[in-house]
């Protein structure tokens, strides 16, 4: 019996397609997320908007909180570890977390290297701003890619930029001659074998989700129409005025992303979305997306 192969890692990512993964900080919030139809929850100590406002070092979630959440929900439980912090990843794997996010939302532990994700049985998801970054993470063993966006901003503009960039760079690969692929691989800073694979498939070899700034059903629809296969919602739910209703509305919005009447219907009774931030208001050295490479 073969466990922890790349195949079963990507297999779980496939099962999460067309769904919403919700950030939660308590077992109660996890229950609300499951009841609303989330496909998975992301257990973390503070949601990105609070990390941003409170400052300090953001680390992996406490083991007790993860166990409490695992005990209350039946859907997959994900957790975040710091970029390069493979000891946090080892601890979270020992807690039987279902997916690990090596995340720029937490304070990076290594400014040069990401985790060797092939060394783990637990699958990893990593953020990216462009195709080169996506393929470097896949080369290190990531089984799922998401846009970085700008976490905790409630502003979709960065996730859109990152998704468009990845899609555009993939389209370019599909029309290049084979002779041009090595130069492109050098330019993207991406493994040649993966560049060749994307040129052939026209898509990433692992699922491609959206994250960072999704706050409304319309945001979720926008990302799905731009090519995302699922969405992560962080601060957008628990920083809004009615988390359970908003959570349910975003779940329906992902399934019916191409139906404007349905999107209007699920948005009809929603109270205020999170306030959000203009990206220009965030000093460059405080932009989470700049973490990792």
């Amino acid at each position: 019996m073969e466990k922890g192969s790349f195949e079963v890692k990507v297999g779980l990512a496939e099962m999460l397609k067309g769904g919403v993964i919700m950030d939660v900080t308590t077992a109660e919030q996890a229950k609300i997320a499951e009841d609303a139809g989330a496909v998975a929850v992301m257990a973390l100590e503070r949601i990105p908007a609070d990390i941003r406002s409170e400052g300090g070092i953001a680390r992996m979630s406490a083991p007790k909180m993860i166990k409490d959440i695992q005990n209350i929900v039946s859907i997959p439980v994900m957790a975040k570890c710091r970029i390069g912090h493979f000891a946090e990843a080892q601890i979270l794997e020992s807690l039987d977390v279902d997916f690990l996010d090596e995340s720029e939302v937490l304070t990076p532990a290594d400014d040069a290297n990401h985790i060797n994700k092939h060394a783990f049985k637990v699958p990893f998801v990593c953020g990216c701003r462009d195709l080169g970054e996506a393929l470097r993470r896949i080369g290190e063993g990531a089984a799922l890619i998401r846009t970085k966006g700008e976490a905790g901003s409630g502003n979709i503009v960065e996730a859109v930029r990152h998704m468009r960039k990845v899609q555009n760079e993939m389209k370019v690969l599909t029309i290049l001659d084979e002779e041009e692929l090595m130069a492109k691989s050098k330019e993207l800073g991406a493994p040649f074998s993966l560049v060749k694979q994307v040129a052939k498939l026209g898509k990433l070899p692992v699922p491609n989700f959206a994250a960072g700034g999704i706050a409304t059903p319309a945001d979720a629809s926008l990302m799905m129409q731009l090519g995302a296969e699922s969405v992560f919602v962080g601060s957008g739910i628990y920083k809004s005025e009615d988390p359970p209703n908003r959570a349910r509305a975003i779940v329906a919005a992902v399934t019916y992303f191409d139906n404007p009447e349905k999107l209007a219907e699920v948005s009809y009774d929603l109270r205020k979305a999170m306030k959000g931030l203009d990206i220009a208001e965030i000093p460059e050295d405080q932009r989470l997306q700049e973490r990792g490479w």
């Binding site: 466990k3 195949e7 779980l12 989330a38 039946s74 997959p76 049985k121 637990v122 399934t255 019916y256």
Partner: protein, 195 residues
Amino acid sequence: MQTVGILTLQGDYDKHAQVLRKRNVDTRSVRYPDDLLNCDALIIPGGESTTMSKLMDHIGIRDEILTFAQTHPVMGTCAGMILMANRGGDSRVKPLGLLDITIVRNAYGRQVDSFVEEIEFKTQFGVEVIKGVFIRAPKIKSIGGNVEVLAELYNEPVFVRQGLHMATSFHPELSNSCAIHDLLISMIWEPVLAE
């Protein structure tokens, strides 16, 4: 040309479509009750059974699936099997009750216990061996008298059939084999032949 509907509320519906395309079968994504009208069979894919169960009620497609299932083949894989069972013992999922089986969700463990194992099953042409990909898979704890076990793993059923309905606790759509989808396609003709 036959058309196989794939429930496209959430999950790995695309993987099923890819398998069926290899067999030149038309596929249709089923998200609204009317989508079932021109389908000859239905697949309920892998994914999260709690999410799919809620979305079925959100759009109101449950009764249409039950009516469709009276006269058409239906196949469920993993979460799809949980949704086709008649007993799950978990209030978070409201199953359709198309198969007389009792299910325990995530019974092989969490993701770190997900695994790949060879599965043998009999077809009219002999014994097929396919790769069984088990992802946080459910177990069948008991089966009714009319349920036929088509494959077992460690002496427990993992592939069952009852009349026009069948289900697997693993993901044939993630293997390279079309054998289980071929069985579903052949079942489309059975009600016609029986008349």
